[in-house]
């Protein structure tokens, strides 16, 4: 294939494209390079030889598996029910499925823990009914549940997008051959969902590895929490750096596993419009499906909102309620918008190179882009503190350096969103334009980009929502005196002002709502014949 023809089939990638893809990935190498510099070989043996390190590793792995399985179960089942069945109130369930995107994992954990326990809201509500106190949610199951609350919406979005792309003709063929509705779906469509499910599970797993807030509040020690504890005690950065490198290794393993499990891409090759598949009747399973979605909504949406309302009411009763932190809200929104646009734009050449020039090294480059997502914010933050204060004092504690940290931390989300967007564009339309004599860049601008636009917007929104919730790197790199909503929530929580913390958290959620709507608009509206076809 290499170098075949000057035009037509894209052969060797242009140097400009390679450069544009190399630059962002080079930035991503900064945190691992910093960790390698910090971790001494002697210390590494000490840390890796300790029994507790391996116990922590085991707890991390079990959490990762639980979160990946849990978020696929929750996200994919919801997506399938909403997109493919005759489920009642589909739009409502679609909105409920993505609302938790606006909730930082530590808020979800705080709320789930606050709802349980002897004095939790659940116990108080159930006490008059004679039901004993609900035990406090904590440990493995508490941490898994809180992290799944944050990650399931990503799986939902990726699966719903993939379900819309799949041509129903194959399923219909399977049904003609005698399969039932579910059997036809499993035989014809499920294999095409593998890429989306694997990507969703990967994002969820990487997030589970890097999460600090939820596991800390659930008293469950993973490697990331051990890294925080190491920084907090003794301030000895060497063992923390060794553990950080362990996370990098873990991310590499996850990426390899995900790459292996990928199926064929579901690219619609032929011309012709996609048709809306016939919804599968649920029949006597309807109550079961509604009960399942209602339970999820109750757990991940109603409970956190109820707990926060309760805290706000309690603080209002004592007259200790703060006003809405508008200014922090503006800072959060502006920072997140800039970071989201940069991350998405930077992800385009990396994705394009990997998908249109699939070689071992281009795909490796794209995979490497996912790696930084497994590193906790404190590692990314300290790496940039180290470089910023020592070598770039004019950039240190300014917004641009913080934005750089966000782009590094959440580049994986941009990659998965952009990757999905590009995979919906058939290379044949590009080839046709090239045959007509357009330059590659103009083909991209005239043919590829317009088709990718909805997917790019969705990708930017995902990064945006993650940035709004980010805490550890923000705390280290924010200009002195500035605040974001996430730092406000944290600040109020540390002094135990849960009412004020809830006000800031609710502000964060309300401000995120329009952007969530942007991300899900198509998934919510797609099934209705009156709405224009997506894509």
């Amino acid at each position: 294939m290499r170098g075949r023809g000057r035009r037509g089939r894209p052969g060797r990638p242009s140097p400009a494209l390679v450069l544009a893809a190399l630059v962002p990935v080079a930035f991503l190498a900064v945190p691992p390079a910093y960790l390698a510099y910090r971790a001494g070989v002697g210390e590494a043996w000490g840390v890796m030889g300790a029994r507790t390190t391996w116990e922590t590793m085991w707890r991390t792995l079990t959490l990762l598996v639980g979160v990946a399985a849990g978020s696929v179960l929750v996200g994919a089942s919801t997506a399938w029910l909403v997109a493919r069945t005759e489920l009642p109130w589909r739009r409502f369930w679609a909105v409920m499925a993505v609302l938790p995107l606006a909730m930082p994992s530590f808020v979800a954990a705080l709320a789930l823990a606050g709802a349980t326990g002897t004095s939790g809201l659940a116990s108080r509500v159930l006490a008059p009914l004679g039901i004993g106190p609900v035990p406090r949610l904590e440990g493995y199951w508490g941490a898994t549940l809180a992290v799944v609350a944050s990650t399931a919406p990503y799986v939902y979005l990726l699966t719903a997008a993939a379900l819309r792309r799949i041509d129903p003709a194959q399923e219909e063929a399977a049904r003609v051959l005698g399969r039932g509705p579910l059997g036809a779906f499993v035989a014809a469509s499920l294999p095409q969902l593998r890429r989306a499910l694997a990507a969703g599970a990967l994002l969820a797993a990487l997030y589970a590895v890097s999460d600090f807030g939820a596991v800390a509040l659930m008293r469950y020690t993973t490697i990331t929490r051990a890294i925080f504890t190491r920084y907090e005690a003794g301030f000895d950065r060497t063992p923390a750096a060794v553990l950080g490198l362990v996370l990098v290794a873990l991310a590499v393993l996850l990426l390899v596993a995900e790459t292996r499990s990928r199926g064929a891409d579901a690219v619609q090759v032929g011309p012709g419009a996609r048709r809306t598949p016939t919804p599968i009747p649920l029949g006597r399973f309807t109550p079961l499906a509604v009960a399942w979605l209602a339970a999820l909504t109750c757990l991940f949406v109603v409970t956190p909102l109820a707990v926060m309302t309760y805290w706000i009411a309690r603080a209002a009763g004592h007259g200790t309620l703060d006003s809405v932190p508008w200014r922090a809200g503006v800072t959060s929104l502006a920072l997140a918008a800039v970071a989201a646009v940069i991350a998405t734009v930077a992800a385009v050449p990396v994705t394009y190179l990997a998908q249109r020039h699939p070689r071992r090294w281009t795909m490796l480059l794209e995979r490497a882009g996912y790696g930084a997502n497994a590193l906790p914010g404190i590692v990314v933050g300290l790496a940039l503190v180290f470089i910023g204060a020592r070598y770039l004092p004019w950039l240190y504690q300014t917004f641009p350096l913080l934005v750089a940290a966000y782009v590094i931390r959440f580049f994986a989300e941009a990659l998965s969103g952009v990757g999905t967007a590009l995979s919906t564009v058939s290379p044949r339309t590009e080839e046709a334009a090239r045959v007509l004599g357009r330059s590659p860049l103009r083909v991209f601008g005239a043919v590829t980009l317009p088709q990718m636009r909805p997917g790019l917007a969705a990708s930017a929104v995902l990064v945006f929502l993650s940035v709004v919730k980010e805490l550890p790197a923000t705390a280290l790199l924010l200009p002195t005196g500035a605040r974001t909503l996430a730092t406000e929530v944290w600040r109020k929580t540390t002094v135990g002002a849960y009412g004020a913390a809830a006000v800031a958290a609710v502000t964060l959620m309300v401000l995120s709502l329009p952007f969530i709507w942007l991300a899900v608009r198509e998934h919510v509206l797609a099934r209705h014949p009156s709405s224009p076809p997506g894509g």
Partner: protein, 328 residues
Amino acid sequence: MVAALAAAGCGDSDSASGDAKLVVYSGREEEIVAPLFTKFTDATGIQVEVRYGKSAEMAAQIAEEGDGSPADVFFSQDAGALGSVSDRLSPLPDATLNRVKASFRDPDGRWVGTSGRVRVVAFGTKAYRADELPDDVLAYSQPKYAARLGIAPTNASFQAFVTALRLKVGDDRAKKFLADLKANGVKTFEGNRPIVEAIADGEVDLGLVNHYYLALVKKERPDAAVENKFLAAGDPGSLVNVAGAGVLSTAKNTDGATKLVDFLLSQDGQRFYATEAEENEYPLVPGVQPAKGLPPLDTLVGESQPLSKLGSEEKATLEMITEVGLTS
């Protein structure tokens, strides 16, 4: 968008005039200490730019910043964090240091305590009376107490207590104490305040915490059935730890920085803890009385205070806590 960022970032700080500005890294919470900085600016005319965060993370930040650190003063929640970056601090003048007792400052004079907090046993008044609880912290690892006891093993204050215990009774005895706690069903929490809340909720009946969380919880829940039990003087369970301050050796405004530390130790700066701050921390300068209802500091402090060793011993302490399995 960019304009909004610029406005949000510069609003508070650009009014400060060039070289007189002072940059403080505060590991103490804004809600607690912000009035102190306002008072300082009112008294001296020196503008202060404060960066708030957790003491430990700020210490890590100062260490990573190296010579490029923009900070002039590090105002820390505990002595351990100050000790961990003492190589980045420059010695304070004797006149400043001598305002507090030698046991509340660095022997090499690189940081000085500004307020004190005492380790106590918080207890539920429905379960216990103060006089029926042991005065010796080692007794609390017995099954009848430990099963109803809450601790915060990842919290710096708890770790400082374990360091004090190790230094007082030796590593073997300290490790046995921790292992007994674990074996006898101690409950672990993420911080001190959740422990006091859990006592108020009846989830546990006892907690090893700092004295001032009681006042904080009672502020939001005035009828919470919790009180503090102060242990014997010199017992590691009544360790007096300090919040304190140090001036960075790379400070650009050393003069202003020293003035701020002096102000924190002035009558005004010290009375703040007794009269204004809700935490009821102990003033450390002799002659300034603590808040009502607190036993005098002299009845709690033993002959030696191991504060200067908290930083260097912290790692071994954390290893012990991790090894016993209390952090999982």
